[in-house]
């Protein structure tokens, strides 16, 4: 269900050499579940069955590790390279105090519904040409849904 799961079956080039000519054959089959440092999707996926909502949030929280380089999600935490995202869902674009938004974003007139966030995170520069968010696009739809679910769960006290 998650795009992070790849299945790569290598060509028979590396199939165990019966003749023994190659003393160290490579894999016959290599399943890459996840790259090191990437979100532990397997954990979240395993939890989905028992509690889909909280599992999705947990998955989003894990995936957000990549976003946290720029965005804080703790109330009162300072803005980073990107604005603090506490309570972002439902808020008007350019509305976080103290962050120097691009003119393009300030003028966008967008309200950050889940759907708007989804299309923005998928490709920020396409959605709002001129935005300063030049990194962090999430191509995987399921992962975006998880991240948005996580953001929805973080509301201002």
């Amino acid at each position: 269900m998650l795009k992070l799961i790849h299945v790569i079956a290598l060509s028979p080039l590396f199939v165990l050499a019966a003749c023994g000519a190659d003393p160290a054959p490579g894999p016959v089959e290599q399943i890459i579940v996840r790259e090191p440092g990437a979100a532990p999707v397997a954990t979240a996926a395993a939890a989905v069955a028992s509690n889909p909502a909280s599992a999705l949030i947990a998955e989003g929280k894990a995936a957000f590790a990549n976003c946290s380089a720029c965005h804080a999600v703790e109330q009162g935490a300072p803005n980073g390279a990107g604005p603090n995202l506490v309570g972002i869902v439902g808020k008007a674009a350019g509305g976080v105090a103290g962050f120097a938004y691009s003119d393009a974003l300030k003028a966008s007139g967008i309200t950050w519904t889940a759907a708007e966030l989804d299309s923005f995170i998928a490709d920020p520069a396409a959605k709002i040409p001129g935005t300063t968010m030049v990194a962090g696009a999430i191509a995987d739809s399921a992962e975006r849904q998880a991240v948005i679910a996580y953001l929805e769960s973080i509301t201002a006290n």
Partner: protein, 748 residues
């Protein structure tokens, strides 16, 4: 000109080797002396000369000593420490010849590099951040490579380190360094070298009252003519050799700071668990990893053809995911085999060989005639099972293959071989692989194989990031390279006086040492010893004392049977066989005397004796058993051992004791069995170790019988224990154990 400028400007240092010396020395680290030993062909110290047939004038033995400015003497040890105390014993040999202050001796393990003298990594190892003078280079062309290739440089095993490296190289290196330091002081002080003495890392001229530390003359020493044949001490001059010096590796092993192979830490390292096809030789045809790929921490699942690997954030996660994988394996010829079928094969081959077939190993006299004319004839067949090594540290290796380079971390008995294995597995040249050796948590021969190194390197090559592969205990037990099972048949003849006159032995397999089945020390007029080769699908691996582990049991059991047939006790019978060999007799007599041989024992108690020379050392053991309970209890073992000269009595005694732990474990319990071609044992519940309450009290007597010809310490304590125990069981019960382990037999 200062001394250092002199050194730099010396033509001999700048360009080519001046051939003024046979011992390579160089100045590093400011005022420091580094000596490598090169011995001219034909030098009596060097018994290796037959191997060095390429016409070179000097050959380098792989041993080094370094003197630092702070007067620390560093011995570079070309062997690995696996609990046998080799670091300490070899350093003792070097330090004694050098008259070094033992409290200021340090130890470095040589890097896994055949050419470490010229290799840049090795230069860093010996002298970080410094230019190593060109004087080192010729010692490489002088033959280290040839020697290394001929002898499997840096291999630790065969009870070889002290008797070969220590005796030939470490002592020579120490003596040479001492002579060079003395010569330098003599020149500086303008006094004859003969008036100078050395002690505790000090150079002393008593007449003038001058006294300086080694470090003061280290730089000048490297400028001296180098001794072609350094004078070695006679035993009466030994100060450090022969002393029970404390082991260098013990403090860190007690406080937990010692780093073993399994402790390797590499940034970004992930963990791999592995499972090979249960039947050796089979391949993995398919895997179902449906569950595994959803499990926590899992990064990759790999079907490597001959094994399955799971790579995860943690070892436990990897092992749990691996356990969930359903794998299918190819069919092999071994699928139907069990242990009985293997022994049936042995029997068939031995039957086919008959009285004259098989490969002759040694023959004297006319066995056929002697046996035919014997007054008493005895025939017996003995069997031993496959044995696993069961090192307490399970097999493991950490590898990182990236950017055309490979780093490997492990504990290996043959680091150069391990490095080559990693290079082959990574598909890289030898020089692009760095091998990092660590302490071995038990070797016993198991860590002379490179299978784990190859597997880890293949996994790391597939992932691209560093991976620590750890075998589970189950994998360790089921995928060992085993001490082979074996069958041995004997026919012996006694004359009318009960003298052993005919010895006819045929057995399966012969690996190493080649003399293990032979008995040149026993005076038997007619004997012949043969072997038959029988295919095994399990992989052979050297196991502590190797072929002596089975032949010690075979030979010493049959000698006991012959003694019984002659109506003599085992000690008296062996005395007759050893008549004319005073050194052997002394060992046998010592063990017998210690044990109170011949004195009365309680009901159902027995004493057994066994005598096995191996790896250059002579060992006799007497075991006492208590057969009053449901299973045998070995209460006491007396050991007499003559390794020529004992370099470290405490260390050697520990080797005798540990060989008894290891050998008694095997004798009582050790057995790897097969069902449908796969090993049935998996962990310590079904492959038990000797427990502390089962450990006999061990008393060891050491004999220095020939200081010029040293024997080993790691293995010779093992072969006598099994027959000493089974002979004692016979003495107590009348029941002869012809098949190991003892646990197979019912004594109720």
């Amino acid at each position: 000109m200062s001394k250092s400028e002199t050194a730099t400007d010396s033509p001999g240092k700048k360009g080519k080797w001046t051939r003024r010396a046979f011992i390579g020395a160089g100045v590093v680290a400011g005022s420091a002396l580094v000596v490598g030993v090169a011995v001219r062909q034909g030098n009596p110290i060097d018994r290796l000369s037959p191997l060095l047939t390429d016409g070179k004038n000097e050959q380098l033995l792989n041993a080094w000593v370094k003197v630092d400015t702070d007067n620390i003497v560093t011995a570079v040890i070309p062997h690995v420490e696996m609990g046998q105390g080799v670091y300490t014993a070899l350093a003792q040999m070097l330090a004694d010849e050098m008259d070094a202050d033992w409290s200021k001796v340090r130890i470095l393990e040589a890097p896994a590099d055949m050419q470490y003298v010229s290799d840049s990594i090795a230069r860093d190892f010996l002298a970080p951040n410094l230019e190593v003078p060109a004087i080192f280079e010729p010692t490489v062309s002088g033959g280290i490579l040839e020697l290394a290739q001929a002898m499997g440089l840096q291999f630790t095993g065969g009870s070889y380190s002290v008797r070969a490296t220590g005796q030939r190289a470490m002592r020579t290196a120490g003596a040479a360094a001492r002579e060079m330091l003395v010569a330098a002081a003599a020149s500086e002080w303008q006094v004859p070298a003969s008036e100078i003495t050395t002690a505790d890392s000090m150079i002393i001229h008593a007449k003038s009252g001058k006294s300086e530390p080694f470090a003061k003359f280290a730089l000048a020493a490297a400028e001296q003519s180098l001794p072609a044949k350094p004078t070695l001490k006679s035993p009466d001059k030994y100060k450090i050799m022969g002393q029970p010096k404390a082991r260098h590796d013990i403090p860190e092993k007690v406080d937990g700071t010692a780093i073993f192979g399994i402790d390797a830490k590499v940034p970004g390292m992930k963990y791999a668990a592995v499972k090979a096809a249960p039947v050796i030789g089979a391949t993995v045809t398919s895997i179902d990893a449906t569950t595994a790929r959803t499990m926590p921490g899992v990064l990759q699942i790999l079907n490597m053809g001959d094994f399955v690997a799971v790579v995860a954030d943690g070892y436990w996660q990897a092992q749990q995911a691996l356990n969930s994988i359903d794998a299918q394996y190819s069919k092999t010829e071994g699928d139907g085999l069990d242990l009985d079928a293997i022994f049936a094969r042995y029997a068939t081959s031995l039957d086919e060989a008959g009285e004259d077939g098989g490969d002759m190993e040694t023959e004297a006299g006319d066995v056929g005639k002697a046996f035919a004319g014997a007054a008493t004839k005895v025939e017996a067949e003995y069997k031993v099972p496959f044995l696993a090594h069961a090192t307490m540290e399970p097999m493991n290796c950490t590898a990182w293959v990236r950017d055309g380079k490979c780093d490997v971390w492990s504990g290996h008995q043959a680091p150069v071989n391990a490095r080559q294995a990693a290079a082959d597995a990574a598909g890289l040249p030898f020089e692009d692989v760095t091998y990092h050796n660590a302490y071995l948590g038990g070797g016993f021969g198991r860590r002379s194989d490179s299978d784990a190194v190859i597997m880890a390197t293949r996994i790391a090559k597939a992932t691209g990031y560093p991976v620590k592969m750890i075998w589970s205990r189950e994998e360790d037990t089921a995928q060992d390279h085993y001490r082979p099972s074996a069958t041995s048949r004997f026919r012996g003849g006694l004359d009318k006086d009960g003298k052993l006159v005919s010895w006819d032995n045929i057995h399966t397999h012969l690996f190493d040492p080649k003399d293990a089945p032979t008995i040149p020390y026993y005076n038997i007029a007619s004997h012949k010893i043969r072997k038959v080769d029988v295919p095994m699908h399990l992989r052979f691996g050297p196991w502590r004392s190797v072929d002596h582990s089975q032949h010690g049991f075979f030979i010493e059991s049959f000698v006991d049977e012959m003694a019984d047939a002659a109506g003599k006790d085992g000690y008296a019978f062996r005395r007759e066989l050893l008549a004319g060999s005073p050194r052997h007799l002394k060992v046998l007599d010592t063990a017998a005397k210690m044990s109170g041989w011949g004195s009365a024992l309680p009901e159902k108690h027995g004493r057994g004796i066994a005598f096995v020379p191996s790896f250059g050392s002579i060992v006799a053991q007497v075991a006492e058993v208590d057969m009053t309970g449901a299973k045998p209890k070995v209460t006491k073992v007396y050991v007499a051992a003559d390794p020529g000269f004992v370099v470290n009595p405490d260390g050697f005694t520990a080797q005798m004791e540990s060989a008894i732990v290891y050998g008694l474990t095997a004798a009582l319990y050790g057995e790897i069995t097969l069902k449908d071609g796969a090993v049935q044992q998996s962990n310590f519940h079904d492959y038990p170790m000797l427990r502390i309450d089962e450990m006999p009290a061990v008393e060891v007597a050491l004999i220095n019988g020939d200081h010029k010809h040293l024997g080993g310490g790691g293995e010779p304590g093992l072969p006598p224990i099994a027959p000493a125990v089974t002979n004692a069981i016979f003495a107590a019960t009348g029941k002869r154990i012809r098949e190991l382990p003892v646990a197979k037999h019912d004594f109720a």
